[in-house]
């Protein structure tokens, strides 16, 4: 279940890959009170998928991915407040804005590697946060941006206060993102990203334009993160500074590592496990719920480097190798 891509990989969709979608639909009907949380989980899965593309496949370590999520969120919010509340146009604006930011910043920061790159990604998030904080006329500053109206999707589906439309909306967008990421991962482009991650020096030596590949993948990833941000804005009808914070980037990284990096579905399992655990722990132990999250991460990093999916893989391998 690693979805490594490459020239011998079978790219056909396996039966088990439909499971998340079936579960998502079941949850919609079975647990109506959790539908708003569900929408948030779906949004974060999109965000985590975008990170997996560059971290899991391209090997770009970043703590600044919230810059693009936030750019998309604010672009969609400002667009709704000032131009029109048409949701699909808003998504497009959010995606393009974040993609453009990704392209420009990527061109600059991807000339560096390792720690320098990590620092630069942090710097970009901080810059974006400060801009959003100070440009109060546009963003509402620390108060956040709200009060805009999002129109019905395609003029047909109104956003209801139970969040049912929002959930299905997020699910459809996630499905499209999943399809795109899966295509990319199995394509020659995706294979070349794996090559860059595995050995940058050799990739240069076989004539690959490594920098250009990284910039393009970074741009695609940023655009997808922005799409997630725009979705959050529309489904919650509010944007706050939190979407640009470095904490969100860190949280995202934790979610992806928890689920499993470089596996596509790690980006599904991670946010789900993290956010459900957070929801549960925050209710049970409102004072020290973060302890539970921390403990979970320590255990995963120490004993299961492949994340939750890595544990499942190991268990399956053990069962299969046992003589019957």
């Amino acid at each position: 279940m690693t979805h490594a891509g490459g020239y011998v990989a079978d790219s056909r969709i396996r039966a088990i890959e439909w499971l998340p979608w079936v579960l998502a639909v079941i949850c919609f009907f079975a647990a109506p009170t959790y539908v708003p949380l569900g929408s948030y989980v779906l949004t974060m899965i999109i965000f985590a998928l975008s990170l997996d593309l560059i971290l899991g496949y391209g090997g770009i370590i970043t703590l600044g991915h919230s810059a693009y999520f936030g750019a998309g969120a604010y672009a969609a919010g400002i667009f709704a407040a000032r131009v029109t509340g048409e949701p699909l146009l808003g998504l497009l604006v959010g995606t393009l804005a974040a993609g453009l930011l990704g392209l420009i910043t990527g061109l600059i920061i991807l000339r560096t590697r390792g720690l320098a790159l990590l620092m630069l990604t942090l710097a970009i998030t901080s810059l974006c946060l400060e801009v959003a904080n100070k440009a109060t006329d546009w963003t509402g500053g620390a108060d956040g941006l709200g009060g805009f109206k999002v129109q019905p999707i395609l003029g047909l589906f109104k956003f209801d206060f139970l969040g049912k439309t929002a959930y299905l909306y997020c699910l459809v967008v996630l499905f499209l993102c999943w399809w795109l990421v899966r295509r990319l991962v199995y394509s020659p482009f995706g294979a070349s990203l794996t090559g860059v991650r595995e050995n940058n020096v050799r990739m240069h030596a076989v004539g690959a334009p490594v920098y250009q590949r990284l910039v393009i993948s970074y741009t695609i990833s940023a655009a997808m993160a922005g799409l997630g941000g725009a979705l959050l804005t529309q489904t919650t009808q509010f944007v706050g500074l939190k979407v640009l914070g470095f904490e969100l980037s860190g949280e995202l990284m934790v979610m992806l590592i928890l689920g499993g990096v470089g596996r596509i579905y790690g980006a599904f399992v991670g946010p789900l496990a993290y956010l459900v655990a957070q929801d549960y722990l925050a209710k049970q132990f409102p004072e020290y719920w973060y302890f539970g999250i921390g403990a979970m991460l320590v255990l995963v990093v120490m004993f299961a480097r492949g994340g939750i999916l890595g544990i499942i893989d190991a268990l399956i391998a053990r069962v299969r190798s046992r003589p019957s």
Binding site: A4, G5, G6, Y7, V8, A9, D10, S11, R183, L184, Y186, S187, P188, F189, G190, A191, S192, T194, G195, E198, N199, V201, R202, M203, H204, A205, V206, G207, A208, P209, R213
Partner: protein, 249 residues
């Protein structure tokens, strides 16, 4: 006839330290040429200048008639310059066949393609498999490189470079770290390389050098000390003094 690869008065210095001094070098088409010299002679610097990882201080590098001195690494690969590395520089957690396919895909110009699955490019896969077959690695094609014995990893190192179909191939110590027992396998592979590729081999294993090369250049302290056939090298007093040592001859 122009050389496959040529340098003219190539110099490189780091501050006051000169590591390459006026190197005039010609690699003829289809040549089997060895570059030898003691540690610190500047062999690696020379190779890095040829491949474009390091910019020379002065002088020229040519492929055929074209001056490539200012071109980057990628542009040189596109002009037919391939290389292997002294220390394994492989895609370790990727299958052996993908290691080669990555190179083939870059050469074929399909690596930007984003929507068709890589497995749909049958020609890339078939070419990579055929190449592995000629090197005796077909049985290992689907294994991850990291799990292969070291000697076979050295062969993958060569296989990746061959996937580029180079006209000039720089082999940086292909037998480095391989026990003598197994180095004959490397030599067999080298002997079987297509005759139209001009090969420059940098090697410490003198048995291998003398069996493989038709011409040898000796580098000491960044300058060419001597160039000639293996017989001439072996007979030259100077070379024996600075490098070969009496026991080798």
């Amino acid at each position: 006839m122009s050389a496959a690869l040529e340098t003219r008065r190539l110099c490189k210095s780091f501050g006051a330290l000169t590591v390459a001094e006026q190197i005039d070098f010609r690699l003829e088409p289809g040549a089997r040429h060895a570059l030898i010299g003691p540690n610190g002679a500047g062999k690696t610097t020379f190779v890095n200048m040829l491949t474009g990882r390091l910019a020379p201080t002065s002088g020229q590098i040519l492929i055929g008639d074209e001056d490539i001195t200012t071109l980057g690494q990628v542009a040189r690969v596109k002009r037919g310059l391939g290389r292997t590395f002294q220390i394994n520089t492989l895609f370790r957690n990727v299958s052996v066949v993908d290691n080669v396919a990555f190179a083939v895909a870059e050469r074929e110009g399909v690596a930007w393609s984003m929507f068709r699955p890589a497995s749909a490019y049958r020609d890339v896969l078939e070419e990579s498999m055929a190449l592995l077959d000629t090197l005796g690695l077909a049985a290992d094609a689907r294994l991850a490189v990291a799990g292969l014995p070291y000697g076979k990893q050295r062969l993958v190192e060569i296989a990746i470079a061959l996937g580029l179909k180079p006209r000039v191939l720089l082999l940086d110590e292909p037998a480095a770290g391989v026990p003598t027992m197994e180095s004959h396998r490397i030599l067999e592979v080298l002997d079987a390389l297509p005759k139209d590729i001009a090969i420059l081999i940098i090697e410490h294993d003198m048995d291998l050098v003398f069996r493989f090369a038709q011409r040898i250049t000796v580098l000491t302290q960044g300058a060419v000390l001597f160039e000639g056939t293996p017989a001439e090298i072996a007979a030259d007093k100077h070379v024996r003094e600075v490098y070969l040592g009496e026991r080798h001859v």
